[in-house]
């Protein structure tokens, strides 16, 4: 195995280009080290970027917040700009593992792994984040829901490095929610995880972005539900439940696994979504 520990972005990108296709990126190691210990992966080549300090910076900008890919969960939940513009990212970061894991798990790592159970990714989907990718060939940005493409699969080319996540400023009338149902109250992978950003004009929902994890092979946006919510009026709670039920059954087919059952995931997802919608349509 070849391991290249780099200290600058430039060196990281060169190392990635030189390493060829079978390279893994090592940041905090909370995923890759576990994958290797379990025997699930045996990389030929590793580029260790943990000490590329320029990728840790979190900056408030005109447009919103730019979060360096190596910002750890701890750094996210301690950052004022993140609290201001991306409150549910703080909530989500707080549910990741426990203190020791939060000190090492990074936002770029969560994206790069693209696990369907990722805790931060649904928040990035709901907030309309963009993922910045750099290589020696140049820089590009892509909407996060286009970045994640399948089970532990994404749009990153083998010579590219995720360098930042760009979040827009918080819109004035947007309600947000985050809910993770895990196997226990800490140090747990989710059974279902939901993040929502719902904008209203005082009487109606004008825009909704609702994302779920652990109910499909990847983090998803519940587009159908989001479309149906725009301008919708509900007669009562039962009507909300019905809509959520119909939309969940139309968009996801959760599975049984060692953590939970398809039936429970469906049950909980519908109820969490119904609560989010209920809260969103409540008159202020």
């Amino acid at each position: 195995m070849k391991v290249a520990s780099v200290r600058t972005l430039r060196d990281a990108l060169s190392a990635l280009r030189d390493a060829g296709p079978n390279v893994r990126i090592l940041a905090g190691g909370t995923d890759l080290m576990v994958e290797m210990e379990s025997g699930r992966t045996r990389p030929e080549s590793i580029v260790d970027v943990w000490r590329v300090l320029e990728l840790r910076a979190i900056r408030e900008t005109q447009e919103g917040v730019t979060i360096g890919a190596l910002a750890s969960c701890t750094e996210l939940l301690e950052n004022k700009a993140v609290s201001l513009h991306a409150d549910i990212l703080v909530e989500a970061a707080r549910t990741v593992g426990a203190v020791q894991i939060r000190n090492r798990a990074t936002i770029g790592g969560n994206l790069g792994t693209s696990s369907p159970a990722a805790d931060l990714n649904p928040v990035l989907f709901a907030l309309g984040a963009r993922v910045r990718l750099e290589s020696l060939r140049g820089t590009r940005e892509i909407a996060v829901e286009s970045f994640v493409k399948g089970y532990r699969t994404n749009d990153r080319a083998s010579d590219e490095l995720i360098t930042a996540v760009v979040l827009p400023r918080r819109p004035p009338h947007e309600k947000r929610a985050f809910k993770k149902v895990g196997t226990r109250r800490a140090q747990s992978i989710s059974k279902v995880v939901v993040a929502a950003a719902v904008e209203s004009n005082g009487s109606d929902i004008v825009r909704a972005r609702i994302s779920a994890g652990s109910v499909a092979d990847r983090t998803i946006l519940l587009d159908g539900l989001c479309r149906e919510l725009v301008g919708r009026r509900f007669a009562d709670d039962a009507a909300i439940m019905d809509l959520c039920r119909v939309q969940v059954d139309a968009s996801v087919a959760p599975r049984d696994d060692v953590r939970s059952t398809a039936r429970y995931r469906r049950f909980v997802l519908i109820r969490i979504l119904a609560q989010i919608v209920r809260d969103a349509v409540r008159v202020k």
Binding site: M1, S5, V34, M36, G97, V99, N103, Q187
Partner: protein, 165 residues
């Protein structure tokens, strides 16, 4: 299975471990846990699972609590590493002894190091240690013997003792 972590050309490393400079040669992905336990013969840090789930391997890297079974040594080159063998843990150790915080003792080194990190955080925030705060801080350290009740009590007693000093 951990032979995979030793599967690369060794690199030269310098670490400050409990205040002492240590130079050694190790494969870059060799776990900090193994460097401590085998290369430096500091066996106080324990391996409970090897997958970052139990917290028994907790150490402080540049003051941050981290799971040494998930930290490859290439990432701690030049860093300050503190383990259960460090000498700034006395009030916590006394509290655990006096208040039943240790039963079988296997989780204890990780618990005590994590408590150090929590008390240091309280110091930085100028806040007091609380039961709920201690619960949150220690949520990544599993104990099967105590039911946590006396561990949490020990943390509060240690906080009190340190404040008194």
């Amino acid at each position: 299975m951990k032979a995979i972590f030793d599967d690369a050309q060794p690199i030269e490393l310098t670490l400050i471990v409990n205040g002492d400079e240590r130079r050694l040669s190790a494969p870059p992905l060799r776990r900090l846990l193994d460097v401590l336990r085998e290369d430096i013969a500091l066996t106080g840090t324990k391996e409970g699972c090897g997958e970052g789930e139990c917290g028994a391997c907790t150490v402080l890297v540049d003051g941050r609590a981290e799971l040494s079974c998930l930290v490859p040594c290439c990432q701690v080159n030049g860093c300050d590493v503190r383990t259960i063998e460090h000498d700034n843990l006395a009030s916590i150790q006394d509290a655990f002894l006096e208040h039943g915080g240790a039963q079988c003792g296997i989780c204890t080194p990780g618990m005590i190091v994590m408590t150090r990190a929590y008390l240091d955080q309280c110091e930085r925030d100028k806040s007091s240690a609380t039961i709920d705060g201690a619960r949150e801080a220690l949520a990544g350290n599993l104990c099967r013997c105590t039911g946590y009740e006396k561990i949490l009590a020990s943390v509060l007693h240690a906080a009190r003792a340190e404040r008194a000093r």
